[in-house]
């Protein structure tokens, strides 16, 4: 059970994700008969005891009918009754129960239904072609072991009958794709596959009808079988990661509480908010649309929008951006933009533009196919013509050409890339890194520069107490006692750092934009910024200091000062050092103040640090590096990083990142440690090396087999054996990635040696 324990930080962080009952009702869908189904993403689920702990916690709720955890996609499906005997059920209890069991839960909208259908179709096709291949193989063995004329014909006819539906059903993926390619005047890997499969079937049928000795039905169908395995792996890997990304998606608020002119309050979906609506934003909620504060005072956490790490005070008349979290007081915001024109939407469109650039990346398999498929066709055509012209036997020439097509058929090539990528993705998943699609690994292996965002990436995005100056120990306890009453990040950091018992207070008020005020007898204690606590301007300029300062005062006299800095992400120093020793260039691109960024860069030993960048400037920086010949890995988390994540050659985001940040990133890492970055690079490089080896093996095999086929010596047995052997070799080679990984210490603090023999980072 120890594997599932959460630390105190995690539990505190969870308390900030509050979801209202209305929002849950919008996310859940009705099943009829008073039942609703709620799908939640629970990214921390990772083992058997997590499953039973969660399901037990949820089943204990009186209105929950069914709770099932899906470990693969890290989701919980919960069916609950809208009404119980006591009245309407309160579905917020579901999230509270999950939090209570020690996990974070996020709402999400399932989008992956369509993808599932393709996977099932592919699996069906694998099943059908496997069934057909096994049966035909059985009959073929009898033929090879010397069945005589009549029996052989019978067996061939049965084989033909089994092969025909399998061919139509399982082969349609290749036929469709090949036809599409040909229609547009291109060729791809599927053209030689379709050609070989149809030709070999047609020739076999013709042979059977003329009582021929050889038929190729077994080769035809088993070829399909192997290729479909590769195709299914490729699909499953992409879809699995995509489902996880969707599962992680903690979407920006789905709606907001709109205040009517007569004081009524109504929960309205986000799209229906119009300019001029007044929206109530409670403490802990995100601002749903860009607007202007018309009532209340508060501090906003803009970390996700601008990267600024310390909260910003807002009051009436101040503009606010969507996505910011309201920290200390409730606000009334008048919408100045529609949800689709708000900052969030603008960033998304910026991101889409950048994504377009990346879409031009060509996968290794496509590049190989472009070279390989014309060569195969040419070879088959040449052998057909040569045998026909020289030998004069056009039927035999046809058989030779088919043999060439089958033997060179990119069956091993079709497996070469997806098998390695699936194995590598599994390996990374075990280390807590999710790969979005296979080409991300290919791109990750090519990078030479790593750009980091600061807040939430190099640092945890939550402040940590570095120094407390107090005349008296008792004052520290008073400060902690006060801090316990607030959700302000600095207060929470102070409360967490409490080594000594907290002093209780009679009455505590939180003053938005200032801090906490408490009365204890006739003395007034204040905890907050210097201006608020001492009633005077701060004695020295702390605005540019890399540290945030909090002051405790009694009746306006300062008693204690506390200094905070954003805690570095664990493993950040090791990761940077490791990247540096592997000769990667590192730099920081951040939206935070330059002084804070410089401080972090100095601690970590990063030479280039750029602060106060807007999202667009981050994109420009990525593009500038790209144009000067560098391949950039962008690591970032905020919404403000999303466009840069999309623009970089490849990108990573922590699981705590904003939803949009995660969707823009190619890889997502779940654990807190930044070691994930060099680890992912090492695995990607190793898998790139394995893919190259696989291509070499598959092509080398063909080089050996093709002369046999051209010489007209390839019997069906040889063709089938050659094909299967090359596939098996390729798969076995891919599994070496696992073997190398188990030798090196997984998870813990990996040494550069973890990158293994052939993948030494150059």
């Amino acid at each position: 059970m120890t594997c599932c324990m959460m630390n105190a930080d995690g539990v505190l962080a969870m308390s900030t994700t509050s979801v209202s009952a209305e929002e849950i009702a919008l996310a859940a869908h009705s099943l009829g008969e008073g039942l609703r189904q709620l799908d939640l993403s629970v990214p921390d689920v990772h083992c058997g005891s997590c499953i039973s702990a969660l399901e037990k916690a949820l089943s204990a709720l009186p209105y929950v009918r069914k709770a099932r955890v899906n470990l693969t996609s890290r989701r919980v499906t919960c069916v609950y009754a809208e009404k119980t005997e006591d009245g309407a059920a309160d579905p917020t209890g579901i999230i509270a129960a999950i939090n209570g069991a020690g996990y974070r839960a996020h709402l999400f909208t399932p989008i992956a239904v369509e993808n599932d259908k393709t996977r099932n179709q592919l699996l069906l096709a694998v099943g059908v072609s496997g069934f057909a291949a096994a049966n035909i193989m059985l009959l073929s063995v009898s033929v090879w072991s010397g069945a005589d004329a009549a029996t052989r014909d019978l067996f061939h006819w049965i084989s033909a009958m089994i092969a025909a539906p399998a061919l139509v059903y399982a082969g349609r993926f290749f036929f469709r794709s090949a036809w599409n390619a040909l229609k547009h005047g291109r060729t791809n890997m599927d053209v030689p596959i379709s050609l070989a499969v149809t030709l070999s079937y047609a020739v076999s049928l013709w042979e059977t009808a003329h009582h021929g000795e050889h038929a190729w039905f077994d080769a035809t169908v088993s070829l399909l079988f192997f290729l479909l395995i590769g195709r299914t792996l490729d699909h499953v890997m992409r879809e699995k990661a995509r489902a996880a990304i969707n599962g992680l998606a903690r979407l920006a608020p789905r709606g907001a509480l709109v205040l009517g002119p007569n004081g009524s309050r109504r929960y309205v979906p986000l799209d229906e908010i119009v300019v001029g609506d007044e929206i109530a934003v409670a403490v802990g909620e995100r601002i749903p649309v860009d607007g202007m504060v018309v009532g209340g005072e508060s501090d906003l956490d803009l970390a996700i929008v601008t990267g600024e790490s310390s909260p910003v005070a807002v009051a009436s008349g101040v503009g606010v951006s969507s996505g910011a979290i309201n920290l200390t007081g409730s606000l009334v915001v008048r919408a100045t933009k529609l949800a689709k024109n708000s900052l969030l939407a603008e960033i998304i469109s910026l991101m889409e533009a950048a994504e377009g650039g990346r879409a031009r990346y060509r996968r290794i398999a496509d590049r190989a196919a472009a070279l390989y498929s014309p060569a195969v066709h040419l070879l088959a055509l040449v052998s057909f013509l040569a045998w026909g012209l020289i030998g004069g036997d056009w039927k035999h020439a046809m058989l030779v050409a088919v043999a060439v097509l089958i033997i060179t058929c990119p069956c091993a090539l079709g497996l070469a890339v997806p098998v390695v990528q699936v194995v590598a993705a599994g390996e990374l998943f075990r280390r807590g890194i999710m790969v979005k699609d296979g080409s991300a690994l290919e791109r990750l292996a090519e990078i030479d520069t790593v750009a980091f965002d600061k807040t939430g990436t190099l640092t945890m995005g939550s402040p940590r107490l570095v120094r407390g100056e107090a005349a008296d120990e008792a004052d520290l306890a008073k400060a902690v006692g006060l801090a316990l009453h607030s959700r302000h990040p600095l207060s929470q950091a102070l409360a967490r750092s409490a080594g000594n018992a907290a002093t209780p207070f009679d009455r505590v008020n939180e003053i938005p934009g200032g801090g906490l005020e408490a009365a204890c007898g006739d003395e007034v204690y204040r905890l907050g910024n210097a201006t608020f606590a001492c009633g005077a301007a701060p004695p020295r300029s702390t605005v540019d200091s890399p540290l945030s300062e909090v002051v405790l005062s009694r009746n306006g006299v300062a008693l204690a000062r506390f200094f905070f800095e954003d805690a570095l992400r664990p493993g950040a120093q090791d990761a940077i050092k490791e990247l540096g020793s592997s000769r990667f260039e590192t730099l920081i691109v951040s939206g935070d103040r330059q002084s804070v960024v410089d401080n972090v860069a100095q601690v970590l030993g990063i030479s280039r640090a750029m602060g106060a960048l807007t999202p667009r400037q981050k994109v420009d920086e990525c593009q500038r590096l790209g144009e000067s010949g560098h391949r950039v890995l962008m690591v970032g988390d905020g919404i403000n990083d999303a466009p840069a994540l999309a623009a970089a050659h490849v990108s990573m985001a922590p699981a705590t990142a904003s939803d949009i940040g995660r969707q823009a990133a190619d890889l997502v890492f779940f654990n807190d440690r930044l070691d994930a970055v060099p680890q992912a690079i090492a695995v990607a490089r190793r898998s790139a090396a394995l893919i190259r080896q696989n291509f070499a093996l598959a092509i080398g095999y063909n080089v050996l087999a093709v002369p046999v086929a051209i010489a007209g010596l390839a019997t069906p047995l040889i063709a089938a054996v050659a094909m299967s052997t090359s596939s098996i070799i390729v798969v076995t080679n891919a599994l070496r990635l696992n073997a190398a990984a188990t030798r090196s210490p997984a998870g813990g603090a990996p040494k550069p040696a973890a990158s293994g023999g052939e993948a030494r980072i150059a």
Binding site: C47, G48, I51, S52, E55, K56, S59, R65, K66, A67, V69, N70, L71, T72, S73, N120, L123, L124, G127, V128, F131, A134, N135, L138, L139, T151, L154, I158, I162
Partner: protein, 52 residues
């Protein structure tokens, strides 16, 4: 050779039954959570039967 007349259809039929079982399990969602299924085998207390 006469037995082939029985054996081949029997072999095909049994293979077909296996295929049908696979298709059924696929449609039934049994491949949706392979990792979870692997862990559930080890859980000794299946969660309570669904309440009415």
């Amino acid at each position: 050779m006469n037995m082939l007349i029985y054996l081949i259809p029997i072999a095909l039929f049994m293979g077909g039954v296996g295929l049908a079982a696979f298709l059924w399990s696929l449609g039934n969602g049994q491949y949706d959570d392979l990792q979870g299924a692997a862990w559930r085998v080890l859980a000794d207390d299946e969660s309570d039967p669904p309440k009415s």
